[in-house]
């Protein structure tokens, strides 16, 4: 069972870096595909999510719709779209964008909804217009949750982007398909490990970004959680003793 060692050896084999179709260009293709998909999905999902979050209308529709989209099997969708538009990158872009929309949409509107109503009422009371409330209060305060949504979408897309290779000469999925059919399991596992590494790196970057986007005012204004420490020692709060019975 040395598949794993074989896969590591495959990753470090200089022959697999020979162009065209070397590991570096496949990695870059995979990253590019992931990035473009996320841009497509964000352009659709963020304005829609903000609209739902700000107005509070259509929330039920968004939850049901996004849930339905999540349930779509991506390979089936990709095949369906490819039968319509033909082979190439269009079908994977459509299928993966649909995969990425639900988490981003959820991140956008929950980001708005999580804001304390009093904050928004205060903004309105000091005379801010609706546009100003969205731009200066809701968007900054909702940003951490939105980034969280994009982060979860990124993880799904970077892992599922291997399907691009189903109908196009593109991305790390090429190693998975080629390895599977020729029983070259070192290549297949090596390709998988690269996808996992890419996913972990992107996760790390997003974890960092998610911390950085918390507005300074929010951090400064956070009340210290006094209840985290017990005020009195536990011994002082015992249960009353009931005599004459054993429980």
């Amino acid at each position: 069972m040395n598949f794993f060692l074989d896969a590591i050896a495959w990753i470090f084999d200089p022959a697999n870096y020979a162009e065209p179709g070397g590991i570096v260009s496949r990695l870059l293709e995979h990253l590019l595909f992931t990035f473009v998909t996320l841009v497509f999905a964000s352009v659709i999902a963020i304005p829609l999510g903000y609209l739902i979050g700000h107005t509070g209308r259509g929330r039920g529709f968004a939850i049901a719709g996004a849930g339905g989209l999540r349930a779509l099997p991506t390979l089936g969708l990709l095949t369906l779209v490819a039968l319509w538009v033909g082979i190439g990158l269009e079908a994977p872009y459509v299928a993966l964008t649909i995969l990425a929309i639900p988490p981003i949409l959820a991140g956008a509107y929950t980001g708005f909804e999580a804001i304390e109503r009093g904050t928004i009422d205060a903004a309105r009371a000091v005379g801010m217009s609706e546009g100003q409330i969205v731009a200066k209060v809701e968007v900054p305060l909702g940003l951490p949750l939105l980034i969280g949504g994009i982060r979860s979408a990124t993880l799904q897309v970077v892992a599922t982007a291997t399907l691009a290779a189903y109908v196009a000469d593109f991305g790390l999925g090429r190693y998975l398909f080629a390895g599977l059919k020729t029983r070259d399991y070192a290549e297949m596992l090596g390709g998988s490990i690269l996808v996992i590494l890419l996913a972990l790196v992107l996760e790390g970057i997003f974890a960092l970004v998610q911390r950085l986007v918390v507005p300074r005012g929010v951090i400064a204004g956070r009340p210290e959680d006094v209840r985290a420490r017990p005020i009195r020692s536990r011994a002082a709060t015992g249960t009353p003793v009931t005599e004459g019975r054993s429980s």
Partner: protein, 308 residues
């Protein structure tokens, strides 16, 4: 202990018992345990098939023909691709399996030489491990081919693989990833016929609807499609002739274990004698175009062919 708790315990108990019963049911239903379980009853023959609709139809025909002649059959269909089921055939866990002469020979012996249908059939008989044999091969074959559209063939007067040198525009090949490195792939076209291939596009559906669409749309010019695929006819595609034997002939043949006696072998040979390529294309078409199930297609054909 109060009643609510007792009720919950009883529920958990019931679920646990149910789960154990269900799981033990699964265990005895393991498709690959059948070989040992059925060994006491020598009349039960286990018929397997690939995870390929056309192969399942043939397996169903074998199964029904055997049943009509008094054998008891256990169907283990859609097991997977060759790398999955071949170890089970070699271990004698499956008694009857429809196979394709050339492809199976290449899977058993990487260095096998090609040749005519008969030569490949004989070579396959020798390459099979102890305890397995092939019966008569059918005339029907379902093999790899280089396929082009009718328009493309007319434009450059294409008939066979060598005539591809008439083509003046760059040609892109489409097919599964493994096609790129197969002995009959784009490299062989260049080495054997000196035909330049401009590029390779992976379409991972084994010559299915996406590959056919790519070919018809002109995204690719050459595709690897199985010759018994009804899409060839319904989309006016041309499978180019292969006079030099680039592809191994892939005649349909039953691979059988020692449990298949002379009487059963006669039944299967009678089926193979009636199974021509035209028949196979029609059977496949009933599945692809008419969406009929394998058992209905098989029953209808056996009735029509009237071989028993």
């Amino acid at each position: 202990m109060n009643t609510a708790k007792r009720g919950r315990l009883a529920l958990i108990g019931a679920v646990a018992v149910g789960a154990v019963v269900a799981l033990s049911g699964c265990a005895s239903g393991d498709p690959l345990d059948g070989g040992d379980a059925g060994s006491g009853d020598s009349e039960t023959l286990i018929v397997g098939s690939q995870d390929y609709y056309s192969n399942e139809i043939i397996a169903e025909i074998y199964a029904q023909a055997l049943e009509e002649n008094g054998f008891t059959v256990d169907r283990q269909f859609r097991i997977g691709q060759r790398e999955v089921y071949l170890p089970d055939i070699e271990a004698g866990k499956i008694d009857v399996f429809p196979e394709y002469t050339g492809s199976l020979l290449q899977a058993l012996d990487e260095d096998a030489a090609g040749g005519t249908s008969d030569e490949v059939h004989t070579a396959l008989g020798e390459a099979l491990p102890e305890g397995l044999r092939v019966l008569d091969a059918a005339e029907a074959s379902d093999q790899n081919s280089w396929t082009v559209t009718q328009d493309f063939a007319d434009q450059y007067e294409l008939t066979d693989l060598a005539s591809l040198e008439n083509v003046t525009e760059p040609m892109t090949v489409g097919g599964n990833s493994e096609l790129e490195t197969r002995p009959y792939g784009p490299i062989a076209l260049k080495e054997k016929y000196g035909i330049e291939i401009a590029g390779f596009v992976p379409v991972e559906d084994s010559g299915g609807p996406l590959t056919v669409k790519a070919l018809v749309d002109g995204d690719i010019q050459l595709a690897n499609i199985y010759t018994a695929d009804p899409n060839i006819k319904s989309n006016s595609l041309i499978a180019l002739d292969d006079p030099d034997g680039l592809f191994f002939p892939d005649n349909v043949v039953p691979v059988v274990s020692e449990k298949v006696d002379d009487k059963a072998a006669d039944v299967l040979n009678t089926v193979s004698a009636a199974l021509t390529t035209d028949v196979l294309v029609d059977l496949n078409s009933e599945s692809v175009n008419d969406k009929k199930s394998a058992d209905k297609i098989a029953a209808a054909w056996l009735k029509e062919a009237a071989i028993f």
